[in-house]
Structure formats: structure tokens, C-alpha cells
């Protein structure tokens, strides 16, 4: 008949939140990959897929917020549990924005493909790789409560920012030399800007992980030298 039970069902609820956030992170990462691939391979079908495929992430956004809201209201979590849920709420918002930025990249790709290619794309795929890696590492850090990995994500953001500046200067030269490239080149600049923003969201996630693990707030360079 009955067995003995000592598992706190609250912990099970936290695991549900974690699983849903991971699912959302996986979707966001995939959409970033597809949006950049649609640009580099000039794939109109893939553009369409990204443009119309935002619903699952949006649904998860609402569901995770709802779960966290109820956990806060009904379980009055404390200490690491409280930090876990507050972090989950913020990470949820960041991941949803990453999903939106993938749509923005696909929109820019759609406009870009109406013109002949400005140049061979080298730095933008590199930026995409870094942004996706940052996102993946930030989520791994969240799952494994790994503050060191989270710190590595913060360090990688500088590389992404530097590449964005490089892309801008590079394309500026094309635009000055050949004014016909201004319109498509601006779209590539926008793509690099969106990728840099994705890196910023991964950075936010990593900062939340550090707060969750060690209760240390490293945002806006607080806690440096501490």
C-alpha cells in the first residue's frame, strides 16, 4: 500500500522550472542558429521558419513566469531557493528577448537577400558562434550552479563587442566606397548589433547565475576586486 515519502514536492516544482527554462534556452539557441544560417546560406524557407516560429518560446515565457509567481506566493521560498526563483524570472525574460532578436535577425536577412551580397560573411558567423556558445554556457552554468563557468561567459562578451566594432568599420568602408551597398550593409550592421545584444542577454543570465550561487551581485561591475 502506502510507502514512506520524504521528498519535498517544492523541490520537484523547482526542477520543473529548471527543466522548462532549459527547454526555452534550447529553443532560443536554435532560433539564433537558424536565423544566422538563413542569412549565410540565403535560405528564404529558413527565414520564414524563424519569422513564424516564435510561439513556443512565448508560451514558455508565460508558463515559467506563472510557475515562479505561484512558487513565490504559495511557498515563501528562502535563501538559495529564493535566489533560484528570482534568477529564473530574470533569465526567462532574457531568453524571450533572445527569441525576439532571432526574429529581428531573420527580418534583416530577408531585406538583405533582396540585394546582391555585399561581401563574404566571415565575422558575423563568428559572432553567432560566440553568442550561441555564451548562451549555452550560461544555461549550463545555471543548471550546474557553476559560478566559474558563468564568469567565463562574462569574459567572452568583450570578444563579441570587439567583433561588432570590427564588422561596423569593415562595412563602413564598403559603404563609403560603393554607396549602392549602404542599404544591405546597414542590415548586416543591424545583424551584428542583434548578435551583440544576444551576448548581452547571455551575460545577464551569467550574472544571475553568479547571484544565485554565491549571492554576489556582479552587475555594473559591482563586486570587482572584492
Amino acid at each position: 500500500m502506502a510507502t514512506e515519502y520524504h521528498v519535498r514536492h517544492f523541490q520537484e516544482e523547482l526542477e520543473h522550472v529548471k527543466a522548462r527554462l532549459l527547454e526555452m534556452g534550447g529553443l532560443a539557441e536554435e532560433r539564433v542558429r537558424e536565423s544566422v544560417r538563413s542569412l549565410t546560406t540565403r535560405d528564404h524557407g529558413l527565414i520564414e521558419k524563424v519569422l513564424t516560429g516564435d510561439a513556443p518560446i512565448n508560451q514558455l515565457h508565460i508558463e515559467i513566469d506563472d510557475r515562479c509567481f505561484k512558487l513565490l506566493a504559495l511557498h515563501q521560498p528562502m535563501a538559495v531557493d529564493l535566489r533560484f526563483i528570482v534568477a529564473a524570472l530574470k533569465i526567462n525574460t532574457d531568453l524571450e528577448r533572445v527569441g525576439d532578436l532571432a526574429v529581428n535577425i531573420a527580418e534583416a536577412a530577408q531585406r538583405y537577400l533582396q540585394h546582391p551580397p555585399v561581401k563574404e560573411l566571415i565575422d558575423i558567423p563568428r559572432m553567432a558562434d560566440i553568442a550561441q556558445r555564451m548562451l549555452r554556457d550560461a544555461l549550463d552554468a545555471y543548471v550546474h550552479r557553476d559560478a566559474l563557468l558563468a564568469q567565463r561567459v562574462l569574459d567572452e562578451d568583450d570578444e563579441l563587442d570587439a567583433l561588432k566594432t570590427l564588422v561596423f568599420r569593415d562595412l563602413l568602408a564598403y559603404m563609403l566606397h560603393t554607396p549602392a551597398t549602404i542599404e544591405p550593409a546597414l542590415d548586416l550592421i543591424l545583424v551584428s548589433r542583434h548578435l551583440e545584444r544576444i551576448g548581452d542577454h547571455a551575460t545577464n543570465v551569467a550574472e544571475d547565475v553568479i547571484f544565485m550561487v554565491s549571492a554576489r551581485d556582479v552587475r555594473h561591475h559591482q563586486g570587482e576586486g572584492a
Binding site: 500500500m1 502506502a2 510507502t3 514512506e4 515519502y5 520524504h6 521528498v7 519535498r8 514536492h9 517544492f10 509567481f69 505561484k70 506566493a73 504559495l74 511557498h75 515563501q76
Partner: protein
């Protein structure tokens, strides 16, 4: 202020329970008097099966009195009087010719202060089985005692000392023993009147987890002055005030967006 009678929660489904729960207890316009003093006024609500329903409200609001009307525990109070209807599985428990003993076997109760008999752990749990003649053999009795202790999450701690005095157990263990004793006669409904208010936080957490697990097999009604406990353990919450039912609904709604201002003031600690 308008206080409405509420025959049933706004919704009988919640995220955790997609299928509507069947009604177990239906209370219709119940009034209760201690002599000339009216303690409960026109209470109407429906308690769903296999879920946890919590009654909250400030001291003296009538929540414990109401709980005790559900297994006629108030009958023993001189001058107490009830009118209205309480139906369990469709049968009016205050109807003529009703067997109160059978009712209390079906509707078990656990009190604020654990009250084990001054007997062994085994005999405490076996007591109700024996006096009701529910076991045909020693082996069956032993099996039922073991099952009840396991259901109350106490078996591991006491299995090697079943014949020691129950009074040697800790407060939290004594309370789980009382739950095991209540479960031993296989009730369908378990009424719990402040079951954890005398316990420390760890023992309280174990009781709360137990409540969460027991609802698979029992309909549970719990009175608590601890609002956070109601939030943690219950599926539906009823808020009582001055002997009236102010609001009754899904616990997550009651604690995140109650309909009545009075409920909101109470759950946010603005009064009570």
C-alpha cells in the same frame, strides 16, 4: 460589506489536477449556535474529493467550529445546535437515524495537540482496528498497523520499537502516530485541526509533506492559523471571518488575486 454564500469554489480544477474533482462534502446553509450565540452563519460550500481544502481566518472566526460540524464533534458540547445540511457522499450526516460512530470512522480527525494513548506504539495504532473488529487475524492486524505507520511516514523510525510507549516519541512523531491511528480504520476523509501548530519547523515540514501525499487516498480538510501553511499544502482555501464564509476558491487564486477586499487584507497581513 457583502458576504456571499459560496456553494463551490470558482473552479474545481487547478494546474495540478486537470480533471474536475468530484464533490465529497456538500454543506448547504449551515448555521451553528453555542446556546444563544451564533457561531456560524449560512455557510455553503462544496469540498472536493482527494484534494486538500484549508480553512483560514483569525481566531474566533468559526473555522474550527465549522471543521467539527463535518464529523459531528460539536454534538458533545452542551447547548450546541446546528441547522442546515451537511452531506457526505450525498448522505445528510445530521439526518435522523444516522450512525455517528460510523460517521467518525469514515471521517477521521487529528487535533492540534497530539494525544497518543498511554500505550505502546503498536497498540495506539491497533486500537481503532480492534474496537471496530476490523481485523480477522493477528496477521491482518499487524499488517494494518504497519500499513498505517508507513502511510503516516513513521514506520522507519519506529519499526524496531513498536512495543515501546508512544509517550517516548518526539512531538512530531507523536503527531504522525495520531495520523497513523486515524488512518488505521481506513477513513475516507481526514479532518486536521491545526495539526502542526505545536511542532518545530522540521516536524511541520514533514507533516506538510505527509498531507500532500495523503491526498492521493483521502479527502483532507485542514484548519490552520498559519496562512503560509494553507498556501503550501492546500488546493482550495476558504476564508472565514466572524462566523461567515467570506471567500472560497483555488488556493493559488486566494493568495495571488483574491476577489474580496477582506480576503486580500487578511492574506496581506493588514488585519487579523
Amino acid at each position: 460589506m457583502l458576504i456571499r454564500t459560496q456553494p463551490r469554489p470558482k473552479t474545481l480544477t487547478s494546474a495540478a489536477h486537470a480533471a474536475p474533482a468530484p464533490d465529497k462534502i456538500i454543506v448547504d446553509r449551515l448555521n451553528f449556535f453555542y446556546g444563544a450565540k451564533q457561531a456560524l452563519t449560512e455557510i455553503s460550500l462544496t469540498i472536493p474529493a482527494n484534494l486538500v481544502t484549508a480553512f483560514i481566518g483569525p481566531s474566533g472566526c468559526g473555522k474550527s467550529t465549522f471543521l467539527r460540524t463535518l464529523n459531528r464533534m460539536n454534538d458533545i458540547i452542551a447547548g450546541a445546535r446546528v441547522d442546515g445540511r451537511v452531506a457526505i457522499d450525498g448522505q445528510d450526516i445530521y439526518g435522523s437515524g444516522n450512525d455517528v460512530v460510523a460517521l467518525r470512522r469514515k471521517v477521521g480527525m487529528v487535533f492540534q495537540k497530539s494525544n497518543p494513548f498511554p500505550k505502546s506504539i503498536f497498540d495506539n495504532v491497533a486500537y481503532g482496528i480492534r474496537i471496530n473488529g476490523l481485523a480477522r487475524s493477528r496477521g491482518e492486524l499487524t499488517a494494518r498497523v504497519e500499513d498505517s505507520l508507513k502511510a503516516a511516514a513513521l514506520w522507519t523510525e519506529v519499526k524496531d520499537r513498536l512495543h515501546e510507549s508512544a509517550l517516548a516519541l518526539s512531538g512530531g512523531q507523536q503527531q504522525r502516530l495520531c495520523i497513523a491511528r486515524a488512518l488505521a480504520v481506513r477513513p475516507e476523509i481526514l479532518l486536521m485541526d491545526e495539526p502542526a501548530s505545536a511542532l518545530d519547523p522540521i516536524a511541520t515540514q514533514r507533516i506538510e509533506e505527509l498531507i500532500y501525499e495523503l491526498k492521493r487516498e483521502y479527502t483532507i480538510v485542514i484548519v490552520t492559523h498559519n496562512m503560509q501553511q494553507a498556501a503550501r499544502v492546500s488546493d482550495f482555501t476558504a476564508f472565514f471571518w466572524l462566523g461567515k464564509l467570506v471567500e472560497y476558491g483555488a488556493t493559488e487564486k486566494m493568495f495571488t488575486n483574491p476577489t474580496e477586499k477582506l480576503t486580500e487584507d487578511y492574506v496581506t497581513g493588514r488585519f487579523g
